[in-house]
Structure formats: structure tokens, C-alpha cells
Symmetry: C2
Subunit: 374 residues, 2 copies
């Protein structure tokens, strides 16, 4: 679930997540029906899960299911409609009350049991055949909700059980975007304004504030230039080959596997005379079942740049200023790394290291930049 909530979580580098703070920063947005509706109106998302379930009824008929983070209850309801014997629908927020009403209004209260609580704390009466969850955040891992799905799997999935989705991948591609100019202008406008403010404060109020210029510019730079942006990229904005930077098998991944993402890849520029403005990041998930019990119909949910099939996740855009003029035949050698923020385990810090070689053979000075996924 992509969420534009301002803050997202909490963690002490030295200790466990404070639950009250985690709720104030993260969970609380999901208690709003408006937010649930936004996700329920995402047709690409809805179609993918609907088809994954109803075109693979053999995984659900007569089976037990756990829906991690049920929200409004939609996946739990579909699982029941597809023939599940019993569905446990776990939801940490008071949205669980609405899920309960929805279950009743659809006459499924004998099959779907809504449980309010965090996945790490609830106790189920039995292990389940299927764990279904829509846990994906912006750029897949923002919000770190998959941790809770892993916990659920390790505690409540039968050895023969199936994960819905079964696989997830992160993608990165070089892009062009007018945002690179816009954000630079925003930053420079903020600094111009600041210098006027420094002058005025000295002249009118007798206080010399220029010692704050450096931290202010750092704060503004982080906000305008170093924070990844939500954007709905057009496929035409992708200017080179996209690379898979992470692959996750939802049946076997550990939290350790996803604490860090490290990838080195090449990307060949495929567009003539264009500006390399940075990178776009997105994800896809697949519903393949498991080797011993595969899906009859494999379904894909992708959030790649698309003309008609955009999702509420959009893509995450990492802008590199100034843009670099590149051409068909230019090549990027990229090192990517992503770690969780120390202050907030649900947010990320990303590093890009880019070496550009031009068609002429010239190799440009490497570009290194750190970004915050907030």
C-alpha cells in the first residue's frame, strides 16, 4: 500500500520500535476510509489481486487463508468468495471495525474472522494454507510492511502453504524529466528568499542570522533535491534499459535479506539527444504459487511507467542535477544501494554511483548522490 503519509514509522538505532510513535507516524493513515478508497479505486491493483484469486480458485477452495493488513477487508472477502473454508483478516487499526461490517454486509461472517491487532501480536487458532497481503509500499519496500508478512509466514503458514503474491522485484531505469529543472528552481527561489530575509533581519531587527545559511541550505537541499519524488512517469521518459535490482521470493525471504539492497548494473541509453535527469524506480509482483503447488494462471501486477495502466504507487523519481546530455549509445554503469533510515525503519536511504561513457568513448566524472525515500 503506497501511502503519502508525512512520517512513516520509527525506530531507535538501539532498540525496538516504539508502538505509540509507530502508530502516530505510520499506521494512523490507514484508519481513514478516504485512504482505503484511494487504494480500492486503483483498478490495476484491484484487477491483479482479483484475477490472481479467482483464476486460481484451487488455492482457495476449502482452504484456510490469512490476510495480513486487511484494511477494508477486500482480499479476505474475495478469498471467501473464491471458496475458502476460513479466512483470518488481521488489521492493526480501527479500520478493522469497517472490515467487520463489510464482511457481515456480504454475508461472509461465518468464513471471515476479522481480528484487530498487529500481526506480531495476534494469536490464530491454526496455521493457514495461504497468506495473502497487499504490503507493497512506494518502490516496493517503503513502509517495511513486508517484515510483518515474513513474521506471519514464519509463524502461521503451513509447510505446504502458498504466498500471494509469491515474488517481487525492484526495477530502476534512467529517465528524463522536467522535474529536475522545477526542483532546482524551487531550491534557488527558496535560497534567494532566504538571503533577503537575512538582510531584513539584520537591518530591521539587529540580529545577524547568516550563521544559519549553511544549515538552512542543507535543509532545503535535502527537501528539494535529495528526497525522492512520487511521480507518474510516461514510458517516453524512460531513456535507457531498465534493470532488476532486487528479486524476492516471498516464501523464503528473511528480514535480513531485505534490510539492504545492493546492485551493480549497466543501462544503455536508447534515446537520441536527450538529457539524463536521474532514475525512476518501481516494482512488480507476481502470483505464481509455489513449485509443488503452482498457480494455474500466473498473474502479474506491475507499477512500471505506463500510458494507461498507472497505479496509485506511481514511481519513485531520483533527480540528478545538473542533467547530463546523452545519446543513443551512451552507457551508464550504476551502483545502487538502499538501507533503512536509522531514525525510522519504515523510510529508506538510497545511494547512486553513476559512471557515464559517451558514444565517443569519453568517460565523464562519476556522479555520486544520496537520496532519502520519505
Amino acid at each position: 500500500m503506497g501511502s503519502r503519509a508525512n512520517g512513516v514509522g520509527s525506530s531507535s538505532a538501539n532498540g525496538p520500535v516504539d508502538k505509540g510513535v509507530d502508530f502516530a507516524n505510520y499506521f494512523c493513515t490507514y484508519a481513514f476510509l478516504y485512504h482505503q478508497k484511494e487504494m480500492l479505486c486503483d483498478r490495476v491493483r484491484m484487477d491483479a489481486y482479483y484475477n490472481a484469486i479467482f483464476q486460481n480458485k484451487h488455492h482457495f477452495q476449502g482452504k484456510t487463508v490469512l490476510d495480513v493488513g486487511t484494511g477494508s477487508g477486500i482480499l479476505a472477502i474475495w478469498s471467501a468468495q473464491a471458496g475458502a473454508r476460513k479466512v483470518y483478516a488481521v488489521e492493526a487499526t480501527k479500520m478493522s471495525e469497517h472490515a467487520q461490517n463489510l464482511v457481515k454486509a456480504n454475508n461472509l461472517q461465518d468464513i471471515v474472522e476479522v481480528i484487530e491487532g498487529s500481526m506480531e501480536e495476534v494469536v490464530l487458532p491454526e496455521k493457514v494454507d495461504v497468506i495473502i497481503s497487499e504490503w507493497m509500499g512506494y518502490f516496493l519496500l517503503r513502509e517495511s510492511m513486508f517484515d510483518s508478512v515474513i513474521f506471519a509466514r514464519d509463524h502461521w503458514l503451513k509447510p505446504t502453504g502458498v504466498m500471494y503474491p509469491s515474488h517481487a522485484r525492484m526495477w530502476v531505469a534512467p529517465i528524463r524529466s522536467g522535474l529536475v529543472d522545477q526542483k532546482k528552481n524551487d531550491y534557488e527561489g527558496a535560497m534567494d528568499d532566504w538571503y533577503g530575509f537575512i538582510e531584513d533581519t539584520k537591518n530591521y531587527y539587529g540580529v545577524e542570522m547568516s550563521v544559519l545559511t549553511k544549515p538552512f541550505s542543507e535543509e532545503q537541499e535535502k527537501y528539494y533535491l535529495q528526497t525522492s519524488l512520487w511521480n507518474n512517469l510516461h514510458p517516453h521518459q524512460v531513456i535507457g534499459t531498465a534493470a532488476i535490482i532486487k528479486e524476492i521470493d516471498c516464501l523464503t525471504a528473511t528480514v535480513n535479506d531485505i534490510l539492504q539492497v545492493r546492485s551493480t548494473f549497466s543501462s544503455a541509453i536508447s534515446m537520441e539527444h536527450t538529457r539524463f535527469c536521474g532514475f525512476g524506480g518501481w516494482f512488480d509482483v507476481h502470483f505464481r504459487g509455489r513449485r509443488e503447488d503452482p498457480a494455474q494462471q500466473e498473474i502479474e501486477l506491475t507499477t512500471a511507467p505506463s500510458t494507461n495502466n498507472g497505479t496509485h504507487w506511481g514511481q519513485q523519481v531520483f533527480l540528478l542535477h545538473p542533467p547530463t546530455h546523452v545519446d543513443e549509445g551512451s552507457n551508464l554503469n550504476v551502483s545502487f544501494s538502499m538501507d533503512r533510515s536509522k531514525e525510522n525503519h519504515r523510510l529508506m536511504e538510497v545511494d547512486f554511483h553513476v559512471k557515464i561513457s559517451q558514444p565517443s568513448g569519453m568517460i565523464l566524472p562519476p556522479i555520486k548522490k544520496k537520496f532519502y525515500v520519505e
Copy 2:
């Protein structure tokens, strides 16, 4: 300090404020220089405090001062420049580090001691002659920061000490505003959209969601119609006499005095053929010193609707839909009450009860409405 931070605080109806949650919801915005700058750029605010201090140097020369919630340190710096012997500048966020640098850059480190911590926890070496603070939130009491000023006063102000500001008042007046139509349209647009969503979800996904219509409409109604708005009212929008609904003597007020605001008042409509669209609320503070040691120059800081002297506080607007047609000679009898939210002591709940009598003598059915100041 007015702050548009989404959440603002926390409280359990049964226990003390959780500090981590309070920080996540409230204090954290004040750690940003961008936010401090917004307040430092408020010329009306800056002029009032500047003049209050420098036109009353007798209160500062050779005296000890406590600045509660020093932020960037501006009031502490001015107090030192006005001749204070020693200034304690207390700030709960990491903004205190910037305040420290500002003090040093203005060569006042021998006078101003910046202390990072909450007012309720810091220990000062001595009691002070003056407590200065800019604690006012939207509509005066939003953020409930005055609690911390009261604490400081009760623990750290000498018996002969002076409060800056010394007095505060809350005002309410009937207004006209196009926002009443805009918000109603926004709400109705959201509901139209919802009904389409219900249809689609039934037709495409086989789930009957109309049981959620009532809670959704309540959520949207609260958001669009029952939450007070920040607005910069023009004086022409005030259509009747303004009333003082609360008066605070900063030297003697207790937290108990400000937990509730109760007021009954009349307002005579002073505009011909207009629409009564609700109420505007604002505040003023005064710097009068104390009876035994008065200001030489009394300064006023008002946030009343103004053509040229608007502040970052704006006013709080409480919209009543549908608007009522009123005329010169119409009269409003108003009961106002304000309490702190149980979930969050820094946010407020307001009730208006309005009886309108028209010039003809006709008395309209009473209007009762609850609002959230968030």
C-alpha cells in the same frame, strides 16, 4: 507559534502525554529552519515582540530572563541586546543547536545560555525577573503550549517577576465567506465520487460496500465541513460585532482556567443583505508588565482580520452551512464552548449554539454545530 502540522500532540484520557508520540506529532515541525523562518518573517509578530522589549528596556536591563520555547533564539537575543544580565533560552528540539550558533554569532554567549530540553524537565540555576515566550497557536490555545509557560512561571518566576506577554484574549465574530460554498461542493463532489465507486466495486468486483457509506460520509463531513480552517479574513468579511470570549492574565492563569472556554455573547449584524456563513476566531496579546512594575510602552499584537497587517496565524474559520440571509439589525445570540480533544490535548473541540433573530422580530430555529480545531 501557529503550526499547520498535521497532527499536533497526544494524550491518553487516562494518563500522561507519551513523550515520543508528542514529539512525533507536535514538536518535530519546530526542528525545521523552514518553519522557524516562516515565523521570523511574520513582520507583525516580529515588530510586536521587538517593540515590546526595546520600548521597555527597564524590564530587561540588568535582569534575568527565561525564554520558553526559544526556537531560533530570537527573543533571547533581543532580551540580551536590551540589557539583560542573563538569559536562559529553553528549547525542546534540536533547533536549540541553531539557537546556540546564533547566540555565538551575535556575540552574546556570555549572557544567553541555550538549554535543550522540555520546560517541564530543565533545571535552572536561579529564578528569573522576566518570562518571555511566543506560545500562541491558532486561535490562541491550539497546541496548548501555554501549559508549559504556566509551569515555567510557577517554578521559575520571582514573586516580583513580569510576563511577556502579560495578557491574552480570544475573539469571535460572525463572517461571510465563499469558503462555505467551496467546502460544501468539495464534500458533495467526494460523495458523488463515492457512489460511483460503490457501483463499480459491486459490478466489477462483486463486493457490496454500501455499508461503508455512512462512516465515509461522516469522515468526509468532518474533514470538509466540521474542521475549522486557516484563513486570512478581510475586514469586510466581518459582518457583525466581535466579542471577547476569553481573557487571560498570564501572571495568574492556571491550566485549569484554560482547559475549557465557555462564553455567551450577542452579536449585532452590521452589514446589509448579507449571508451569515459562520464565525471567525482570532486572538490578541498585550505587553503591559504588571501593576507594581508596568510597561512604559504598552504594546499590542493582534491577529484580527486586517488588510495590511495579516500574520502567519491568520484566523480560524468555523463554517455554518447553509448560510443564513441576515441584515443590518439581525441579532445573534451565541453560546460558545471549547474543550481539549481527549485523544490529543493539543487539539480542540468547539461547539457553537446560535439563535438568530431577524429585524422583523422573527426568531429562526437554533443552529447547533460541533467543530474540530486540528
